[in-house]
């Protein structure tokens, strides 16, 4: 992993930025925020060493936050990081979530990357500001800069002291920081941190308890119209043959039903009911008659997608190779006993609490789109394509996001508002009803995984892992597909991450199969925890099956494979450490459990090896062997976050990610019938509610190495830990998510 104390090599970020900068999406984005724009000319109103921060003559420090805020309090963490190096008082820090602009470089919020990717740039921005302020004071006083120091918003030395605000107001502060200059700055060591590692109050929270926080759905323009989508009969492929809105005209305020052509191809058939109020648009929509052609997917259901997955798995010529260690095929052929298991996950929806929505406005030749977004770098060109304009003519204005979970990585929801505005010449706000939001979701594809393995001498002798699913990157950002090991096939790392474990297996083969029928039926997206949300479920469940076959305790079995050999150095040790801590805190080896109660464990790297958050979960579960009913007595989760910016923020994200994992493990799924998503609201799609929250113990390890993300990793480990505990308690091995009492009962029979 290189030096754990330094910023990681550009890795995924570098790849994404370089692909997008090559013009694949017609845009020249830079890699790094904060570099590439010269500092503002010195003025006595404010000073900006790099574009990420601005220090006002009033002493207020504004951090330009390029990441979206959807519950992670990412802006607060950014402000802490800047504050640390700048030596400003915490009370002076403010955050501003910026609109899309090429100056910010790659704009994406996902993958639990935010802090890992920006910690270095933000630290250097703060350090640059401090260095310039000290230089200005030194010049003013005619002393050497190294005799001065900064703290709490003041530069002091030689018995003198001057505030940042006085320095800025004097116009004496200047400094144009190039990327090279920034690189030369020496950053603080963790031992001297003052604000990093402190649980500060999140800067966005006060607005979120008094109703003043403005989400995209709260945006309003004078004279704007409201639009309500009229759902097509299938998720994808339907076209509107004719639209009759004559009955709807009786509704006061109803304007018309628009049948819109979407040149981006995001919508094959798009009909929007438009009115002076949203209520009238909804009432009108109910009265509009659309003659639909349901399109090519009208007969597709879950069984058809599963059949396609099985066909792919059975064909050795299909698929992309993601991991190849030794020769797993040959080793399995030689093994005495081969264990094979198939694991599945169903269709999963994002359903953020704020239903998807957007408002469009055309002003002075520029399209302004209002609505929270997670992937401006891809959403801008997508909207531009739909509007048939140059991407430089599209600006996305950022708001608080009422949940993202990956839904807002795909900017398709801007298109109905944009096209309606174009058609009518008036701003239109399109709000998806909850049913629209669910049925038009870029849902996480179902997954079908087949694993085969053999054990010898208490260890894994060979493992093959076939993953079939719809690839989200084919839908959201095809330019970001990578090459497989053989450089022969494309691979969507966001459909397979997590299968490349830190265990040392002598023979290991992982293959990724592209279920195109799944992609055509429900064009997939990225859902919180992305691929590890299903790869870790299958892998960590199967590791327990292998441990059982080897007759070794599941924890000892895992530790035996976390030897840190070769490419697994450092990471395997860190994984072993979180596992040991989870084991210790849960009572795994010390607590006597009654009959029918057992522990189950699971570990993961969080998202991807290059930005791993080492994670372990121990679930304690009680199963009624007669009915299959089970209860979660406790979930113990441990992270290794490297460095915690805000301890309470880390715990909050751990709770949230753990319960999202619980929700996927036990409560959430829907199906596809006649080419459509079946769930229509929170009665058919049922995320965790308060009564379902089990006792939880959250803790983390922070050794002071480079920080990693916290918003997703726990999501990956909850389902396999629970499944493993259920198997241990009752002998029932459930291999499909969500796990229900009926599944458990069936697996016991």
């Amino acid at each position: 992993m290189g030096n754990q104390f330094e910023a990681p090599a550009l890795g995924r970020r570098g790849f994404i930025a370089s692909v997008l900068a090559t013009g694949a999406v017609g845009f020249g984005w830079g890699v790094m925020p904060g570099a590439g724009r010269p500092a503002l000319a010195a003025s006595n109103a404010s000073f900006s060493p790099v574009n990420l921060i601005e220090i006002g003559a009033d002493g207020i420090v504004t951090v330009n936050v390029t990441k979206s805020e959807m519950g992670q309090h990412v802006g607060t963490a950014f402000a802490q990081i800047v504050c640390e190096e700048l030596e400003a008082p915490w009370g002076a820090m403010r955050i501003k979530h910026v609109d899309s602009d090429p100056q910010w470089g790659l704009m994406v919020t996902g993958g639990s990357w935010s802090i890992n990717w920006t910690f270095d740039a933000l630290s250097r921005a703060g350090a640059a500001g401090r260095t310039s302020l000290i230089a200005a004071a030194a010049k003013t006083w005619g002393v050497a800069a190294d005799t001065l120091s900064a703290s709490e918003g003041k530069v002091s030395g030689g018995g003198k002291s001057i505030s940042f605000s006085e320095l800025v107001a004097s116009g004496a502060v200047s400094g144009a920081w190039t990327a090279d200059d920034l690189k030369k700055l020496t950053l603080k060591k963790p031992a001297s941190y003052k604000i990093i590692g402190k649980s500060v109050q999140a800067l966005d929270i006060p607005l979120k308890v008094n109703g003043t926080a403005k989400y995209g759905i709260d945006f309003k323009l004078a004279g704007m119209l409201y639009g309500k989508i009229i759902l097509p009969p299938t998720r994808n492929g339907a076209t509107a043959k004719s639209v009759d809105d004559s009955a709807a005209k009786a509704i006061p305020g109803f304007v018309k039903a628009l049948s819109l052509k979407d040149p981006s191809g995001s919508f094959t058939g798009l009909v929007v009911s438009v009115a002076e109020t949203y209520w009238a648009a909804m009432r009108g929509a109910a009265l509009v008659k659309v003659d639909w052609d349901a399109g090519p997917n009208a007969k597709v259901d879950d069984a058809a997608l599963a059949a396609e997955a099985k066909r792919l798995q059975a064909d050795p010529s299909e698929g992309a190779t993601w991991v190849r260690e030794g020769d797993a095929g040959a080793a399995l052929a030689k093994a005495g006993k081969v264990i094979t298991a198939e694991y599945t996950t169903g269709l999963n929806l994002h359903a953020p609490m704020e239903p998807t929505n957007a408002t469009a406005e055309f002003k002075d030749g520029v399209w302004h789109l209002h609505g929270g977004n997670q992937f401006q770098t891809m959403s801008v060109p997508l909207v531009a394509k739909a509007l048939e304009v140059d991407p430089s003519k599209v600006v996305l204005h950022q708001y608080w996001l009422g949940g993202g979970f990956g839904r807002r990585l795909l900017g398709d929801y801007f298109i109905p508002a944009a096209l309606a505005t174009k058609a009518l010449g008036r701003p239109v706000k399109v709000v998806y009803s909850r049913t629209d939001d669910m049925r038009l979701d870029c849902a996480r594809s179902p997954s079908w995984q087949k694993l085969s393995g053999a054990v010898a001498d208490g260890k894994v002798a060979a493992l093959t892992h076939d993953v079939a699913c719809g690839w989200p990157t084919n839908n959201v950002a095809p330019a970001l597909l990578g090459d497989d090991l053989d450089k022969k096939n494309k691979v969507d790392v966001f459909a397979i991450n997590g299968a490349d474990v830190w265990y040392t297996f002598p023979n290991h083969h992982v293959r990724l199969l592209d279920n195109k029928l799944a992609e055509a039926t429900v064009p997939p997206g990225y859902l919180r925890s992305v691929a590890p949300g299903f790869t870790v479920w299958a892998l960590e469940s199967f590791v327990d099956e292998l441990a059982h076959a080897a007759n070794v305790d599941p924890v000892a079995f895992r530790l035996a494979h976390l030897d840190g050999a070769g490419k697994n150095d450092v990471g395997a040790q860190r994984l072993a450490a979180v596992l040991r801590q989870a084991v210790a805190r849960s009572g795994y080896s010390s607590k006597k459990l009654p009959e029918g109660t057992a522990f189950g464990v699971a570990i993961s790297q969080g998202q991807e090896r290059a930005a791993a958050t080492f994670t372990a979960c121990v679930a304690e579960v009680t199963v009624n062997k007669k009915t299959g009913k089970f209860g979660i007595n406790k979930l113990t989760v441990v992270y290794d976050v490297g460095t915690a910016i805000s301890p309470d923020g880390v715990i909050s994200q751990m709770e949230s990610a753990t319960l999202w994992g619980l929700s996927l493990a036990l409560y959430e799924t829907t199906t596809i019938r006649d080419g459509a998503i079946v769930a229509a609201n929170f009665d058919g799609y049922t995320p965790t509610r308060m009564s379902q929250v089990p006792p939880m113990d959250m803790s983390y390890i922070a050794t002071g190495v480079f920080p990693t993300g916290t918003g997703e990793p726990a999501t990956t480990v909850v389902a396999p830990a629970i499944g493993n505990a259920i198997a241990m308690a009752s002998g029932a091995r459930v291999r499909a998510l969500p796990i229900t009492p009926a599944h458990v009962k069936a697996a016991m029979a």
């Binding site: 929270i205 008094n210 109703g211 403005k214 109020t277 609490m353 704020e354 949230s656 509610r689 308060m690």
Partner: protein, 159 residues
């Protein structure tokens, strides 16, 4: 013309009587703190007080609200100083925050009727309020904190 009292202000509105209170608040009165989440009594994001009781504003037509006193999150404690709001800050409850107006309004009405609740009563009262960010542990904690401060007659401190 329909007359209602919202956050202490008398309002006379020219809107169709079947229009849900939710959309009147959000789109006509610009009180966007009340949120739309499901429109079907399934999430609680739209919770407001009608004559002191928590109601789902997506399920109440403006015609049925005529003459009532409505309180929204904006009127609960304008500066966020209601003990429930203060507790929400102290316990750092909101994540994305979108469900929290509804959670707070539901909790405030609940605590007004049941100032010293047992844990199970809290769960039962809050079960209809979905939080997709799953901040349930903190919501429970904050309700207890608020109950504590309301008992002693003070406001929860921000600490």
């Amino acid at each position: 013309m329909i007359t209602i009292n919202v956050n202490g202000h008398q309002q006379t509105l020219d809107v169709p009587p079947d229009m849900p209170l939710l959309w009147v608040l959000r789109d006509v009165l610009d009180l966007t703190g009340t949120k739309f989440g499901c429109g079907s009594n399934l999430c609680g994001a739209c919770t407001v007080h009608k004559d002191g009781k928590a109601v789902r504003s997506c399920q109440v037509s403006i015609g049925d609200a005529a003459g009532a006193n409505i309180t929204t999150i904006e009127g609960l404690g304008a500066a966020g100083e209601h003990p429930v709001q203060a507790a929400w800050i102290k316990e750092q409850v909101p994540a994305c925050g979108y469900c929290q107006s509804g959670q707070i309004m539901n909790a405030a009405a609940f605590l007004a009727a049941n100032p010293d609740p047992e844990d199970e009563e809290i769960v039962r009262a809050m079960e209809g309020n979905l939080c997709r960010c799953s901040q349930y542990v903190r919501i429970q904690k904050a309700i207890k904190t608020a109950a504590e401060t309301m008992k002693t007659g003070g406001a929860a401190t921000n600490g």
